[in-house]
Symmetry: C2
Subunit: 146 residues, 2 copies
DNA sequence: CTCCCTGCAAACTGTTTGCAAGTAC
DNA sequence: GTACTTGCAAACAGTTTGCAGGGAG
């Protein structure tokens, strides 16, 4: 596992380049997603946002989440009960581990998986354009406590 | 890829063993899920069910889907837009490929992935209890047409 | 100054729940 | 006959939409 290196400023840059206006809501939300250790739903992000910015509208958060997802800055987490939570996308990684005990998301090196997929493409005639692997279980911390 | 070998009778047996009563709705729904090539949502299954059994209630279908999922007979598919579709579970397989062009689900041998996961457990101290890998792209049929 | 973004409220969709009637056992 | 299942309708939660006012460029 590698450590997360999210730079909120890069996200703002990406937003600007996509042609949207930069506002305080956006900065708030980007900060929230970029710094959360846990996958967040739009609803949860809204609750967090209102702590520092009480008048934040719910719809605004949903709209922003959609925008961030379309730009590929955040990514949907497919958990046991639904898939409305998001984590920041790390450009070079894509394997995700979710601890069922503490809920934290960890990021794993995806290279072995990439190799596996590439191999499968060769033998099957399929063309793979996207993949998502998620692992569930107990992280090393929770594992020790148990 | 291996071919699918779902036996609706096994599902009925599993249901009986779980202590529920066998009714016609159940038989209808099991048939629908066991024979569909495509991932189905509860809503879709309901629509199909009403073709042969018009008075089928929507809630009944949702309840049955939940039951089948809890018994592990069907499994949630985590697609691009939401994860409310289900496919039959094949006992020995778990890798799923969804063709973005025709929507069909194909089942892949998961052994290489199992090995990968086991290796990762050893080196990380994590304990993995469940995994889901889904691949998206074009199946060999759609690939040729393009 | 113009147009995009925001907040609010209402609408909508997919899903769940409560209950009376029906049906398997 | 008893108790689980069903169908219906209402409730519910998460999400989307329409619109008037506000703020960025």
């Amino acid at each position: 596992m590698r450590s997360r290196t999210i730079n909120p400023k890069d996200w703002l840059t990406a937003l600007v380049e996509s042609g949207v206006r930069v506002t305080t809501v956006q900065e708030t939300l980007i900060d929230i997603f970029a710094h959360s250790e846990y996958p967040l739903s739009a609803e949860q992000a809204w609750n967090v946002a209102r702590q520092s910015r009480p008048k934040t509208g719910r719809a605004t958060v949903y709209r922003m989440v959609e925008k961030l997802e379309n730009l590929g800055l955040i990514r949907r987490v497919h958990g046991y009960q639904g898939c409305s939570h998001f984590v920041p996308t790390l450009p070079e990684l894509m394997m995700l581990f979710i601890c069922l005990s503490c809920g934290r998301a960890e990021y794993l090196d995806s290279q072995p998986l990439d190799d596996l997929i590439q191999q499968s493409e060769h033998t099957s005639g399929r063309h793979i354009t996207d993949s998502r692997l998620q692992l569930f279980g107990a992280c090393s911390d929770c594992q020790q406590k148990a």
